[in-house]
Each structure stands twice: as structure tokens, then as C-alpha cells.
Symmetry: C6
Subunit: 240 residues, 6 copies
């Protein structure tokens, strides 16, 4: 690049700089958009795997444990005559209601996360396979961000806490007639575990936010340095 | 490119422009066709995974829960003498009919989606492996679009709603004799969950449509800008 | 390419054209062969996945449901004394025969498809991994085409229809003593589903054939245009 | 390549040809070795998948069906007093022996195939990951060829036939007391299926051999043509 | 690079060296960061696989074994009248409490590991897909290091030891009434196995640390050599 | 490369040769190290797959078969009064002890292999993802070699033999009361199968060693030829 006079130089430099600014701005936006696309895709994949696994376990537990609970209750009914008597002698009704609510909620929450994942993921996969950088702008992942976050919280947050609760309730249903102490011991372990889950979630969220803030501010500082450097070069010797 | 007179220039430019138009048109069509191919392929893959999972759960639930329901009923029959008496004392017939209908429908819907996926997917995979850009025109995915959409709605839409209904019916069958309140509680959770599923479907559909409309109109605007720019260049200095 | 006289030109052109013809012919044949290889491979993979899944479900259903059916029947036998009496009081023998036939047929058909897939697939995988274009000619997929089609029809066509029938029979076996209406309702859903499966198969086959015919005729038309164009160029100015 | 006199030319040509011969010979041998490596690897992978699946089914069937068969037998024993009486009244001992033999054989055969696959596969995977063409010569797949073929026949040949036999025996064990006709019907389907399996194996083997012979003879013919062509070129104009 | 005088040379060399130092420093840091990213990602993947597997087994064991333990206990209760009597006659309450604690702890520990893996993995996957070397600096894996290590120890360390303990307790629950010697034999195998696990962990940790120390000190030595070499070159002939 | 006098030539050649020697030595060592890394990685992957599968089957067999064995035994206890009486009338205690030992050993061995695989594999995966050839030197796979071999022998050698033994013991437990002949027949098949496993292991080991010896000696011969060739070139015309 041959530069003749200071004025034209400044003008050309301004052109170049504004062009670079715009380009890098566009480029940065596109790169950020791709990163968000990859993050959403990875989240949805993790959701679909975790939710399929946990809802499967919940289903199996419901079908299998109900058999067990039903069988002696049924025999008891025939021996004792009345249904209410059997359910009073066996597992109390409240426990069954809580068990039914927890299992249904657990399966529903994971199914919702699974459905969101199944709906949005193909649109992202299709964009990821296209080898054009600009294709990311036609991906609906920015509009669907809220949905992805909802699915994420459903599957990882609420879903795993409900699963922990399910285990405690399940051991109550199992051990109610044999040994209440076993059920109490099981509950005594699940409660601190649940608290640890929530603590980890908060720590994870805080660190992620702190990390994002830090990398943003660092990038800003870098841009600032770059701007100052370019400014300094304007006044002195031009090294391009 | 050396340009001598305005006339020949215009003619050559017209040639070039029309060629570029045609090329970019063809290119855009091909690119769009590939994107639709990738989208259909990703959908069919998601369908095959989800449908295999859910129909498997439904099968297991049917086989396992029927055992349970049958066992005490069978013992009761022998004790009480008649079959009708047993089914009246136990689970009412209407519930069994609804359960049979829901399970059969669920498995059929997912099997249909699975079959469509198994039929069409290999044809797309074969095209995707060929490293020729024009190969997309020989893919049958445009003709099969309706089938893919039917499989998609069967698997993700109807299939997941039926699965939710199945859970409610299943808990009715399980808890009918032990505690009707547990079954009612389970149903009370499934109904709002079902409504949330439908709401999410509509929101997803609306956003997807809005996104498609927006990206289409933006592309049109870009083409318009390009056309105007080319037009301006015709009258002034030619920068090619 | 500098051309001096019309005669030598025509001769050279003829050479070039015949060479290109031959090359493109060979190339087209090789490309078509690769595409058929990819299609067969994708089909065999889909077969092996679907067949393993469905034969697994059928196996589990047979083992599990037989337990259930056997258990009360066994108790009934001991109480009532004779075997025939038990099978008459319980599930009729004809139903059991149909159930045994359907399950055995289902598992056999899927095992046959699985075996064909396991035999042929490795030969194709080995060819696909070799990075030589001509390697496709040493792949046995053209000779094995009939086998692939047989496995395909066994797994996707007959296999899925048999699976639907299996569900209907299974619900008859399950609900026979509890509620014949539930079994009838289940059958009433399976029959239209089966018809829809056959209709989809025919639509899919027709569309695939129409698509193949169309893309073949279009390719012929293109070759025709190319030939005419080359012919025209012979007489006029040569633009190569 | 500048050629001065006929003599030196012939000598140089001879050098070149012998070099090309050697190179292509080496290259062809290496390429063939790679292809055999890929084929063995693909076979071992297919073996490990199929054997894990089928041995799993056999294990589950043995554990589950034994429960079922054992339960009423056990009750019968207590009611009737003696063990022999129970096994005579129930399933005959010969059937149990055949069932035990078939299941053990099935699991052993698939375990053997699985073990061979687990032993040899890592050595091949390690070679495949090395990006050196000559690495194939250090792969032990040529020495292990017999083992791979044994595993292949164990898993695909004997293994699937034994699995078919297992289904027939299993339905005999299940339906023996309920309905002998169902077991007979099941056997009547398994026998022609087994014959079809053997026929397919023979057809597959014959076609594969025919294909190999054909592609070998074609390659020989091509080499012959090449040799004749090179010979002709020696006498006439040299086009290199 | 032509060098004229000693002074300018020294200055330029100093510039170059400091630049190279800085570059290689940055490069080394980035490379190390990538390596740590890959290591964390591989660990989290292994965690998610192992934890899903083992927590699944624990769940199934709890549901299935409880059925078994509950069934005869239930029958015993009805026969003997009181609940305490049954649990005293059958499995002692302490064993049930230990069993409940171990199972709940096992599932909680693996769920915690699974949750950490599901939370952090998508952020790393998104970074890994971006083809920019500097992207690693925006990955939160350095901040999340402690979490990854906690998940790692939970899943591989505590998780597998608890699983071993679970097997011993499980065989106590199973064989308590049939044969206490079988349970003792089982425990006698689990204890040395547990010791071997801990020994392996320590050996593995020590070797890993020794390896890290060795490769660090070797790298330091290499840098030292490089520095000395550069120093020597400064005084003598410059070979760049 | 222009060579003037014999002496300097010799010196330069010596330099070049020693450099090439060193390079090729380093290169060969690095390549060998990578190959060992890939081999260890492939082994660990195979271990983790096989061990997860077989320990899963063993767990399921233990849980399921214990139910079956426990149930009639439990009923028998109540009928006959004493525990010892029941276990003497049913399955002898020795068999239960052997069964408990075999199952615990089987699960422990596979868990150990799984744990070693889970610990070492991530460190190798992280190295494999780094695209630097020298990175292999920082992989701990040479130090961990013994661990990998232990895991390998545990999983493939001892693990599969124990699994075979488990099947024999399992059929003894199952068929003990129904038909001792079935258990004897099952054992009669397992014993030759076990012998075949050991024979295959020895054949495999011998062939692998022979292959390694052969490829080592061949490489030595090649190096020898190369050295002699370079030596010959020193004395004659230099063709570089």
C-alpha cells in the first residue's frame, strides 16, 4: 500500500479501518452465533440422552414397583374383605398419592424436554451440515433460545431433583411395611444430596456467569488496546 | 475485463448478469434443496430414535402391567366363580378397553413413523454420501415431503400426547383398587402437561414460521439491494 | 486448443468426443454403482437396526406374556384336574396356536433379515473404506441385490405387518379372560393401521418409481441437449 | 522424457516397466492387504454386535423362562409330594435336557465369537488409525484369518441356526402343558426357516465365490491388455 | 536475515527472541489449555457413561430385589400376624437399613456425577466445535476444574466402591434365609476386591503424578537447552 | 547438492547420515509409541464394552434367578418350618456358595477392568485429540502398560471363563430340582467350551508373538539393507 499525503492517507485509513471494523464486527457476530448454535445443539443432545434414560427408569420403577405393592395388597384384600382396610393396613393412601404425583411429574417433565429437543434439534443439525458460514443466520436457534433453556432446566434441574425425590418415595413405598427405619435412613440421605444438587447448580451458574463476564470484559479490553494502537500508528510511522 | 464502447458493454454486462442470475438462482435452489434434504434426514433420524424408545416403553408397560392386573384378577375369579364378577370387582371393563385402545394406537402410530423413517432414510443417506452437489436433484425427498411430515406429526405430535395419556390410564389401571385418589392426582398432572405440550407445539410452529418468513424477506431485500447496486454501476464507473 | 482445418478438426473432435463419451459413460456407470452401493449399505444398516429392535420386543413379549398366561392356567389346572379343561376355561387353543405361529414367524423373518445384513454388510463396508473410485467394481453388491431386496421386504414390509398382527394377538391373549371387548377394540385399531401401512408402502413405491423415471428421463434429455449442442458447434464456431 | 536411440530407449523402458511392475505389484499387494484388513475388521465388528445381542436374548430367555417353568412345577411338587412326579406331570425331562444343551451351546458359541472379536479387533483398530500405507504389513490379520473365519461361522452360521432351534425348543417348553399343537405349529415354521437360512448361506457363498473369481479374472485380463499395449508401444511411436 | 553490525544485531535478536518467547509461551499455554479441555471432556464423557450404567443397575437391583424380599415377607406377615415378627423372622432390620442407605447413596452419587457432566459437557462441546485456536480461552473448563474432579471422584472412586459394597449387601439380603455361608463367601471376595480397587487407585495416582513430574521436568530441561543454545549463538556465528 | 572433494563429502555425508539416523530413530520411536497408544486405547475401549455387557448380564442373572430360587424355597420354609430343612430339600448349600462366589468374582473382575478403563482412557483420548506428533511422549500409556494388560486379562481372559462357569452353575441352580440330567448336560458342554477358550487364547498369543517377532526381524533386515546401500553409495557415485 503506497501512501502519498497525510490527508488521503487518513481518509484511506479511515476507510480501511471502518471496513475492518465492520467485517470483524460481522465476523464476531457470526462466530458468536455459531458458538451459541453449537452450545444449544450440545445442550439439546445432552437433554435427549438424559431425559430418555431417566424417564425410562421412572417408567420401569412405576410398572415394576406397582406390581409388587399391588400383589400383597390384593391378597390382603381378599383375606380382609374391604379395599380401604387393605390400603390402611398396607401402604397409606397419602404415600400412594405422592408416589403417583411424583412419577407422573417426572415422566411429564422429561417427556416435555424430550419433545422440545426432538422438535428443535433437526433444524440445527440441518444448519450445521451446510458448509456455509452465513447459514447460521437462518437457524432458528436465537428465536428458540427460551425453549432450549426451558428444556434444559426441565431436564437437568427439575428432572434430576424429582428423580432424587422419586428414589426417597420409592424406598418409602418398598420398605413401609418391612422397616420404616430403612425408609427414614434413605430419606436422610436424599435430603442432603438434594441440597448439594441445588448448591452445585448455584455454584455452576455463578461461575459460568463470572466466566462470561470476565471473557467479555477481556475482549473489550483487547478491542480498546487495538483501537489505541491503531490511533498511535496514525500519528507516527505506518506499519501495515 | 476490457470494455470499449457503452453499447457492447451493456450487452456483455447483460450477458454476464443474466448468467450470474441464472447461476446463483440454480445455486440457491440447489443449496436450498440440500438444506431441505438435511432437515428431512435429521427429522427422520430423530423420529426413528424417539419412536423406537416410546413404542418400546409402551410394549413393556402393556406386557408388564397386564401381568399384574391379570394375576389378582385371575385369583379373584377362581375364588368368586365368574369372570364378569371379577372384572366388575376389579378394574372396570371400560378402563381396560381405553387402555387397550390407547396402547394399540400408541404402538401403531410409532410403528408407522418408524416404517416411514426406515423406508425413506436409506435413499437420503445414499444421496448424502455422494460427493456431488447436483446429486441432490435425484433425491426423492421433495416427493416424499408429505410422508416425512406425516411421520413427524405421528411421532412427535400425536405420539407424545398419546404417551402422556397412556401414563394417566396406566396409573388408573394400577391404582384403581388401591387408591382412586392417586389415579385422580396423576390425571390432574397429566392434563395441564398435555395442554403445555400443545401450547409449546403452537409456539414452536409460530416461531418457526415467523423465522422462515423473516429470513425469506431478508434474502429478498438483499437480492433487491444487489440488483439496485448493479443498476447504479451500469450508469457510473464499473468496478468489477 | 488451436484448430487449423475443418477435416483434421472433425477427426480430432470425433476422437475427443468419443473419448469424453466413453469417459463420462464409465464415470456415470461408476458413480451409479457407488450410489447403489451406498443405498444398499444404508438399507442393510436400517434393516439390522429395525430387525434387532423388533425381534427383541417379540422375544421379550413371548417370554413375558407366556409367564402370565401360564401362571393362572397352571393354578387352574391343578384345581380343575385336567389340562384340556384349563385351556378351555382359559385362553382357547386356537388363539395360542396363532400366537405361537405369529411370534415364531416374526422372529424368523427378522432373524433372516439380520443374517443377510450381517453377511453382506462387511463386504460393503470394506469397499467403502478403500479410497479408490474403481473399487466399487469389486463390490459384490450388484450380485447380492436380490438378497438385499429380500432382506428389505422381510424386515420393513412383512416384519412390521407381522408385528402389528402380533400386537392384536397379544392383546387377545392378555384380555381374553378379563374383557373380550378390549381385545376387539384393539383389533379394530390394528386393522385400519395395517391397511394404512400397505397404502403407504404402495404410495412410497409408486412415488419412488415415478421419481426414478423422471430423473432418468431428465438425464436422457440432458444428454440429448449436449449431443445436439456439440453437433451445432461442429458446424459453426468452436468454443471449447 | 527425451529418447535418443532405440537401444538405450529399450533399456530405459525396461527399467521403467520393471519398476512400474514392481511398484504396482507392491501397491496391489498392499491395497489387497488393506482391503482384507477392512473386511476382517467389518466382520469382527458385525460379529461383536450380533453375538452380544443374541447371547443376551438367550440369557434373558433362559433366566426368565426357567422362572416360569419352575414356579408351577414347584407348587405342583409341594401339592403332589415328589419331585419326579412333578417333572413327569409337567415338562418331560428330555425337553429340559435339550433346552439346557441348546441354551448353553448358544451362549458358548456367541461368547467364543465375542472373545475372538475382542482379542483381534484392537490390533486391527490400532493399525487402521496409523496413517501409513505400509503399516498394514504389521497387522496380524493375515495370521489371524482362520480365527476370524471361525468367529464368523460361529456367530453368523451356527449361532443363528442355534437361535432358531432355541425358539422352537422355547415354545415347546412354554406351550407343552397348555397346548402341544401350538408348539407343533411353531416347530413347523422354524424348520422351513432353518432350511431357508442354509439355502441363503449357500447361495451367498456361491455368489461371493463367483464374484471373487470374476473380478480376479477381469483384473488378470486388464494386466494382460496393459502388457500387450506396452509391448506394442515398444515397436511403434512412444506416447508417454 | 542479513546482519550488519553487532549492536543492531543484538537488539534485533533481542526483539526476535522476546517475540518468540512470548509467542511460544502463549502457544504453549494455549496448547496446554486445549489438552486440559480435551482431558476434562473425555473424563466427563466417561463419567456420564459409567454413572448411567451403574445407577441403572442399582435402580434395577433395588426394584427387583425388593419385590423378592417383600413377597415372602408379606405372606409371612399374613400367616404370623405381626409386621415386626415377619421382619425378625426374615431379614433383620439392620440389613434392610444398610441396604437402603447403600442403594440411595449409590444412586445419589452417580446422579450427582451425571448432573455435573450434563451441565459442563455442552459448554466444552461447543468450544471444541469452534475451529479457532484461541476459543479455548473462553471455555469455562479451568473454572469448573474442581467440579470435574468432584464428579470424577464421585463416579469412578466412591461410585465403584459403593457398587462393590452393594453387591455384598445384596447377596446378604438374597441369601440371608437360604444360606448365610453363601453371603459370607460373597463378602469374603468383595473385601479383597475393594482393597485391590483402592491399591490400584493409589498406584494409578502415583504413576500419573510421577509421569506428570517427569514430562514437566523434561520440558524445563529442553527450554533450558534452548536458552543456552540461543545464548551461545549470540556470541558466535548466527545461524538463523 | 554439490560435492567438491571426497573428504568434505564424507564429513557432510556423515552429518547427513547421522542426522537421518537420529531422525528416523526418533520418528520410528514416536511412530511405535503412537501405535502402542492406539493399541492400548482400542483395548481399553473393547474392555469397557465387554465388561459392561457381561457384568450387566451377571447382575441381572443374580437378581432374577435369586427371586426364582428364593420364592419356592420361601414357601417351602413356611410349610416345613425350618430354614435348613428348606435349603436341604431344595438346592444344596454348597451350590449356593459356589454360585455366590462365582457371581461376586465375575462382577468384581469386570468392575475392576471397567474402573481401570475409565481411569486411563480419558488421558489417552486427550492425547489422541491433540494434533501434535510429539504429544505422544506426554501420554502416560507406557507407564500404565501393566495396568492395561491387567485389565485386558481380567476382562477378556478371566472374565469370559468365569462367565462360562457362571452359566454352568446357573443351570445347576435352575435345574437342580427339576432335572439333574439337564444340569449335567449343560456342564458337559461348558467344559469343552472352556478348553477351547484356553486353546484359542494360547494360539492367539503364540501367533501374535510370532507375528511381532517376524515383523521386528524384517524391520531389522530392512535397516541393515539401507545401511549397506548407503555404505555402497559412499564409495561410488552419489545419487541424492
Amino acid at each position: 500500500m503506497q501512501v502519498n499525503t497525510q490527508n488521503s492517507e487518513t481518509y484511506q485509513e479511515w476507510l480501511l479501518k471502518s471496513y475492518i471494523d465492520q467485517m470483524s464486527q460481522t465476523h464476531t457476530n457470526t462466530a458468536l452465533s455459531w458458538r451459541r448454535l453449537y452450545l444449544s445443539r450440545a445442550k439439546l443432545k445432552a437433554i435427549s440422552r438424559t431425559s430418555a434414560l431417566l424417564s425410562g427408569f421412572a417408567m420401569v420403577a412405576m410398572v415394576e414397583i406397582s406390581i409388587d405393592n399391588d400383589a400383597p395388597g390384593g391378597n390382603g384384600t381378599e383375606a380382609n374383605g374391604g379395599e380401604k382396610a387393605s390400603s390402611e393396613a398396607g401402604v397409606p393412601e397419602l404415600l400412594l398419592i405422592v408416589f403417583a404425583i411424583c412419577t407422573t411429574l417426572l415422566v411429564s417433565v422429561h417427556l416435555l424436554a424430550l419433545m422440545i429437543s426432538t422438535c428443535i434439534l433437526p433444524n440445527m443439525e440441518a444448519i450445521s451440515n451446510v458448509h456455509s458460514v452465513q447459514a447460521v443466520n437462518e437457524s432458528p436457534h436465537e428465536e428458540m433460545r427460551l425453549c432450549v433453556e426451558v428444556a434444559w432446566v426441565c431436564s437437568t434441574g427439575i428432572g434430576i431433583l424429582l428423580f432424587l425425590a422419586e428414589i426417597a418415595i420409592l424406598s418409602w413405598v418398598k420398605f413401609y411395611r418391612l422397616s420404616k427405619n430403612a425408609a427414614i435412613a434413605s430419606t436422610a440421605i436424599v435430603i442432603p444430596a438434594g441440597i448439594m444438587f441445588i448448591v452445585f447448580s448455584l455454584v455452576f451458574y455463578k461461575r459460568l456467569m463470572a466466566h462470561k463476564y470476565q471473557s467479555h470484559s477481556e475482549r473489550l479490553r483487547q478491542l480498546d488496546d487495538l483501537a489505541r494502537e491503531l490511533h498511535t500508528n496514525d500519528d507516527g510511522i505506518h506499519i501495515v
